[in-house]
């Protein structure tokens, strides 16, 4: 079996997932994972599928592209890396949530994530909304991250705060468990 990852991008409308999954089924493919979201009015989805050995990826891509043309979706297909993953998260990592609020400007994501990258902090989920303007509540970044236990957490926190201050951002760096404890039974 071959494994492939498919991404679909385009204007949101009803029927996209139905069309994609039907096209995969017609190629005798099996869906393993799907993640789908809508940003503003744009649809985006990624699928990991297993495919028969006999099916060339190009054939799948062509079929998807042709089938999705009426829905005006962009298709990208690539093989899933077969060997072990190139990044293996440290077993001693702690899940944190880093949240910022503040006036909108260019470079907020770039500069905050640059600090994280320097420390080997891995972003596992990012949700950000920038409606523009100065109202802090309108411009929010929420990073769910894994922080390796081996790094100097105090220094990381400090560097993040310095960067946030320079950007006029109000930053919170909290262990994920606090949100689960408060909000979930």
């Amino acid at each position: 079996m071959n494994k492939a990852i498919i991404s679909i991008l385009g204007q949101d409308r009803p029927g996209i997932i139905a069309a994609v999954s039907d096209l995969i089924l017609r190629q005798d493919g099996n869906i393993e994972n799907v993640s789908q979201t809508i940003l503003q009015s744009e649809f985006s989805a990624i699928f990991i599928v297993t495919l028969p050995e006999s099916l060339a990826l190009e054939q799948l891509r062509a079929a998807l592209q042709a089938g999705l043309a009426p829905l005006e979706q962009h298709v990208h297909v690539k093989p899933v890396h077969p060997g072990p993953p190139i990044y293996v998260p440290s077993p001693d990592r702690e899940p944190f949530v880093i949240t910022t609020r503040g006036p909108d400007r260019k470079g907020l994501v770039a500069r905050i994530t640059a600090v994280m990258a320097r420390y080997g902090v891995n972003v596992t989920n990012l949700q950000a909304v920038f409606k523009g303007g100065e109202a802090p509540g309108d411009n929010v970044m929420i990073y769910e991250v894994d922080i390796p236990a081996t790094i100097d957490q105090k220094q990381l926190r400090n560097d993040l705060r310095v960067e946030a201050d320079a950007l006029d951002l109000d930053i919170s760096i909290q262990h994920r468990h606090i949100f689960e404890a408060l909000n979930r039974i």
């Binding site: 949530v97 949240t99 929010v140 929420i142 909290q174 262990h175 606090i178 404890a181 408060l182 909000n183």
Partner: protein, 457 residues
């Protein structure tokens, strides 16, 4: 994946609604420090407290940082000193108080509780010595908190002890006359004192507790008020059942914070986790007030007719939410109405919306009692004792904790202002009916018997 709403609402509670861990209180059993000789007793007490509390403040700060939740106060509660130091005289007891004060300072905690006696059925030699030492011990130390349990549902009310406590309160006030009787703010008289309260001034470590234990007090009146305000803004027709449900859910969330922090602090210190006490404990800041919740619920002010019902609703909803959130709920768990410590309640007293009698009625449904109530300096011992006895009766008959923290402010009269400073706040002095008069009933002394447990009407 967390929902952004879960994250942002949590951050709002912390940033704008004063959600915090009000206190992590380390309970330390001191019974193994009992010695005949005061010097050796004090040395043993100091050694044990310093040993157990060495990492308390640092660990609390680390855990607070990790979750982004401030642990505002770190405190220590010890076994009742009247029993630990029973062989000592009043002088020896004062030395123990000094030792507790020094140990608290060395441990970097702001208060240490447990300069306490349990005398609901009688006063033993150690109890008498501690009570004799109380006024000076409280006046001479900054961090020591004292409590005396004078009544219980199983034993009744020890009116001799009530009278003695009234004298002690007057003496303690006189010794700190230049600070509006501040020593009295560190002294609680209890009925049915819980053995695991983390909140001061009533914290002590009861008999039957572990050698060392972490108890946590969480607060959050601002969180409850904001939740009520938001819900009422969205639906002005909300009825009281729905509001109670909302307060219950909010109390659940706040309790979970305490449980999370408490368990982790205990684990890092290698100690048992005891209880989380969710008590809406106000500070003299706007937005951190229990009185404001009454206004959000629709009352003009705390103290007006309807206030007792509102407090009953609030207290019960808080307990229900807390009990569901954690199987380790203990302490007082409810709503505090300390007059001077709550800006809004102090203002209600100033306006005349809230008087001593209404306060007393409300304490029959709140989680503590007549708390931080400033009274005229000329209030007689007998009148003070009468107020205390009434409050104890409410606790004893209703099988609940009640307490008095009364301050007869020396040289000041009803309508004057008393200022205690910091978290203890300030308040108008409430008028007392028959303040300076005699009271032959209380002077009779003796024990008011334990109440019958059937024929409940």
């Amino acid at each position: 994946m967390l929902h952004p709403r879960e994250i942002l609402s949590t951050i709002d509670m912390l940033r704008h609604e004063h959600l915090d861990v009000r206190t992590v209180t380390l309970g330390i059993n001191l019974f193994d420090c009992a010695r005949q000789d005061p010097v050796r007793a004090c040395a043993a007490i100091r050694r044990k407290i310093l040993d157990k509390s060495r990492h308390l403040v640092a660990v609390c700060d680390e855990v607070g940082d990790k979750y982004g939740i401030p642990v505002v106060n770190k405190r220590i509660a010890v076994s009742p000193i009247a029993a630990v130091a029973a062989p000592l005289d009043a002088d020896g007891m004062r030395r123990v108080a000094q030792t507790l004060d020094e140990a608290a300072e060395a441990s970097r905690v702001d208060f240490i509780g447990g300069f306490s006696a349990l005398v609901e059925k009688g006063i033993a030699a150690g109890d008498a010595a501690l009570m004799e030492a109380l006024p000076r011990a409280l006046a001479e130390t900054g961090r020591v908190c004292a409590s005396v349990n004078v009544a219980s549902t199983r034993a009744g009310i020890n009116v001799d002890a009530v009278l003695r406590m009234a004298e002690i309160i007057k003496a303690a006030a006189a010794l700190t006359a230049d600070a509006d009787g501040l020593a009295c703010a560190k002294l609680c008289v209890f009925a049915n004192i819980p053995q695991d309260v983390p909140f001061m001034a009533g914290a002590y470590l009861g008999v039957g507790e572990p050698d060392a234990v972490i108890n946590v007090g969480v607060s959050g009146p601002g969180v409850v008020k904001s939740a009520v305000d938001r819900a009422v803004a969205a639906n002005p027709g909300l009825d009281l059942g729905r509001l109670s449900e909302l307060i219950k859910q909010t109390a659940y969330k706040v309790t979970r914070v305490g449980e999370l922090i408490g368990r982790e602090v205990a684990e890092r210190l290698g100690l048992r986790f005891g209880v989380v006490d969710l008590s809406l404990a106000p500070t003299p800041n706007v937005g951190d007030s229990v009185g404001e919740i009454f206004q959000s619920l629709g009352l003009v002010s705390i103290g007006v007719p309807g206030s007792t019902a509102a407090l009953a609703l609030l207290n019960d909803a808080v307990k229900k939410g807390g009990a569901f959130a954690s199987c380790n709920v203990g302490g007082l768990s409810g709503a505090f109405i300390p007059v001077s410590e709550d800006l809004n309640i102090a203002e209600a007293a100033q306006r005349g919306d809230l008087g001593l009698e209404k306060l007393e009625a409300m304490t029959s449904v709140c989680s503590v009692g007549l708390d931080m109530v400033a009274l005229p300096g000329d209030t007689s011992v007998e009148t003070l004792a009468g107020i205390i006895a009434d409050e104890m009766a409410i606790g004893v008959i209703n099988k609940k904790t009640t307490a008095c923290r009364l301050i007869p402010v020396p040289g000041k009269a009803a309508g004057d202002y008393a200022r205690f400073g910091g978290l203890l706040g300030e308040s108008v002095i409430l008028p007392v009916n028959h303040a300076a008069g005699p009271n032959a009933f209380i002077r009779r002394g003796g024990l008011i018997p334990a109440p019958i447990q059937s024929l409940v009407n």
